[in-house]
Every structure is written in C-alpha cells, then in structure tokens.
C-alpha cells in the first residue's frame, strides 16, 4: 500500500540525493539549504521512499509547459 501512492499520476518521481549530489545542486543554484522549498518528513511520499530530515529530494515533475521539470525540496520535520 505504501508504495502504491508513488504510482499515482498526481505524484511525480521523488529521489533522495546523496551528500555530494546535494552540494552540487546547492552550488549550481547558488543558494543556502534553507532557501529550498520544503517537504515534511511525515509527507506520505517522503515516508514511502524513506527520506530523512535534512535530505534533499529531487523531484521530476511532468510539466505542461516544459515537458519535464526538475526541482528540489528539503525534508524538514
């Protein structure tokens, strides 16, 4: 059941970034960690993929304007 929601058409792909990937993302965007949009650690999707507080999630959205759009969210409690 927990994994079922990941297949829902309204839920885009979420992936946990490694430490080095996270740093690369922050450097590329030239921002601090806290400037990222947030996602709660008890968010159903965050729970399903096992994300922990402080992780950065890479979200690949299906966009009606750009086709595919990659964005990031910081896991907070």
């Amino acid at each position: 059941m927990k994994k079922d929601i990941l297949k829902h058409e309204m839920v885009p792909d979420h992936a946990v970034l490694s430490k080095s990937e996270s740093n690369k993302v922050l450097k590329k965007m030239d921002i601090h960690l806290e400037q990222l949009p947030k996602i709660k650690s008890d968010d159903p999707v965050a729970k399903a993929i096992g994300a922990k507080e402080g992780d950065i999630l890479e979200i690949t959205r299906k966009s009606s304007t750009a086709g595919k759009f990659i964005t990031y969210r910081l896991v907070k409690d």
Partner: protein, 381 residues
C-alpha cells in the same frame, strides 16, 4: 523520431542553448515534418533560442503581481452564483468564483467534495463488479432495504422486515447487515429477515426515537461519502461520489490507484503528499477557469500553487497564510488588521529590515524591483 530528438539535442548543445524537453520535442517534430537538412536545423535552433531568451522573465520582474492580475481580472467575469449543476448530471459541484476562492483559501472543509473513481483494466468493463463496489462505497441505511416497517404502540416495539431482493439489488451481504444491526442494537431480536426492537424505556417518545434510529442506521458505505453515481465514460465505468475519502477508496480491491482522484486538496495532501497537492491545486484552478470559458496561462497558476506549497504544507493566500507570514511588519500591517500587527510588533520589539516592496513604498524609497533590485557593494580592502 528518437533519432531526430537526439540530433536536435546535439545541435541545441552546440548552440549552447538550454531548452526544456518540450521545446526539443517540438523542434524535432518540425524538423521531421519539413524534412530539414543540417543547416536549416541549425538556423531553426538559432531562431528558437533568440525567441526563447526574449520571452524569458527578466531578473527582478514582479511575477507575483502579474500572476495576481492575470488570475484576478478573469475572476471578475466569473459567475457569482454559489453553485451550479455541471459535469455529472445528478451531482452538484461548486464552480465559478466560489470554487476559485475555496482553492486559494485552502479551505479545510470544501463545500462539495467529490471523487472520480476509476478501475483497473480487468474490471473497468465489468459492470457487475463496478456496481458492487459502488454499493460498498455509497451510503445506504436500513431504510433503503425495508420491505415493511411497523411501529407497534400496543406491544411497544418496532418491527422491521428486510427486503431480500432489495439487498440483492444493492449487492449487499445479509449477514454483514445483521452484524451491524446487532452491534448497534444489543437488544434486537432477529428472526431471519424480521427484526424487532424494544425501546430502553417503555414510553411513546422513546419508541418513536428508536424507530428513527433503526431506519437511519447505516449498513454500508465509506466514511464521508454519500451518494454515488455510476457512469459509462467512453469505454469504461466510472463512479462519481458526493463526499470524498481518497485514503479508504485507494485501499479497495480493483480501484485504479493511478487515476482515481478527489477535488479535496487537503485530502490529496494527506494521502498523496505535497507534490500531488501542488498538482491538484493547478488542476482544480485551471478546471474552474476553463469551465467558465476563461483562459489563464498555467504559469500564473503554477506560481500560485508553488507559493501555496513551498512550506511543505498547503497554505492559503491571505491573512492566515502567505500574506500573514511576511517577515516585514509594515507589509503585514498594510494588508489587513493594521492595528493588531503594529501593536504586536511594538510589544515584541520587531525589527523591519525594509527589504520588501511594500515597506519601501510606505517610507518612500526606491523599491527592490526590476532595476531597483540592484545594489552597490564595495569591495573590502
């Protein structure tokens, strides 16, 4: 096609352009349709790049203000009526301005929650299966399956006779119903399909109350869901509901876990997460505008949805949400409840760093917008 896409990607890279996926796809389509050679493709990419860069939002542009105007202006043309019959014939769904306000206010209790329940491939043409599920989801009470019902004042009891054909019609389970009745009315006497009840105190008032209670006893249905409507849409059966409970419905056997949706944004957030809530806001807002024959560029709605979900939970636009959480005292005071904010700020000793637009307009300084957003920094020596 795949080849052309790769070729276009290469040209785009060579021209040092950063195009979104849909652009590359569109260019590849055009290249195939007109059978472009390499030089022509080069020229096409060059021109698209120029047009794309021109169309981009400038740094420091007031996108929020533009979004507010772009949603607000068509909003004035929407119907002011509170409700409207549309979509599924028998269901009443709030549309127009009231619905739009509901969305941006992020109401916890929306006025007409509704679901569209789809089925997995193997069941979507199985009418019998869909009807069984519909009756499991939809609310029915004892009153719906009665053949005969007596309130006997002489013997001080209530006698209900259940109609087996009605039960069969509704695809309900007889023992299941009996169990539910027994659970609620401990003193019920059950003789096949004849149920008799005795009130706890032997007076007429109690007897009448008991009769109503028996008739209203819910024997099937998912919590928060009322009426259901079954419809054939194109080549499959779809259930539309009045009321919504996404979590419970998604757990049911045979229900499509990919397409089944609700119009309750908070429920989407709870069950499918914040990103799905963002998609739901965009979808609902756009659907509401479309239905009224108004077109608003999605980008404006996307910005609104991004703001509403940036925090990790769905926040409203307005006093209790985004505007109420602004860092600047002056900005908050200028929006609503001026006295309250100024008083509180003075009690707490808040500091306003004057970084926003509104603060700077109030004190008469250039605003940090467009060319005003650039400052001079001296190099430390």
């Amino acid at each position: 096609m795949q080849e052309t896409i790769e070729k276009v990607t290469k040209v785009v890279k060579k021209k040092r352009a950063k195009f979104p996926e849909s652009y590359i796809h569109d260019i590849a389509l055009a290249a195939e349709r007109h059978d472009l050679d390499d030089d022509e493709l080069d020229e096409l990419v060059r021109r698209v790049k120029r047009a794309y860069e021109r169309a981009k939002v400038e740094k420091g542009e007031a996108v929020g203000t533009v979004a507010a105007q772009s949603v607000g202006e068509p909003g004035t043309q929407m119907t002011m009526r509170t409700f409207h019959y549309a979509g599924v014939a028998e269901l009443n769904v709030t549309l127009g301005l009231p619905r739009l306000i509901e969305i941006v206010d992020a109401r916890k209790k929306i006025s007409t929650p509704t679901m569209a329940i789809y089925f997995e491939d193997e069941f979507k043409n199985d009418e019998e299966f869909v009807r069984t599920i519909a009756n499991k989801i939809g609310k029915s009470n004892v009153n719906d399956i009665l053949q005969d019902f007596h309130v006997n004042f002489a013997e001080m009891n209530v006698v209900a006779e259940l109609d087996e054909t009605k039960i069969k019609d509704k695809r309900l389970d007889f023992t299941d119903i009996i169990n539910r009745v027994e659970k609620t009315f401990k003193k019920a006497q059950i003789d096949n399909n004849i149920l008799s009840f005795v009130p706890s105190k032997s007076n007429i008032r109690e007897l009448r109350l008991l009769a109503d209670k028996v008739r209203d006893l819910q024997i099937s249905g998912v919590k928060n869901i009322g009426k259901v409507v079954i419809r054939k849409e194109e080549d499959e059966w779809v259930i539309h509901t009045e009321g919504s409970n996404l979590g419970a419905v998604l757990k049911m056997e045979g229900v499509d876990k990919v397409r089944t949706t609700t119009n309750d944004i908070h429920e989407v957030e709870k069950v499918l997460g914040i990103e799905a809530a963002r998609n739901a806001i965009i979808h609902e807002a756009q659907r509401t505008m479309d239905e009224q024959g108004l077109t608003v560029d999605v980008r404006h709605i996307m910005l609104v949805a991004d703001m509403m979900t940036a925090d990790g939970s769905v926040k409203s636009i307005g006093r209790h949400g985004i505007s109420g959480e602004k860092a600047s005292v002056l900005a908050r005071a200028s929006f609503e409840e001026t006295g309250k904010h100024l008083l509180r700020a003075s009690i707490r000793g808040e500091i306003d760093h004057l970084t926003g637009i509104i603060e700077n307009i109030i004190i008469g300084q250039p605003i940090p917008l467009g060319t005003g957003s650039v400052g001079v920094v001296m190099k430390h020596k």
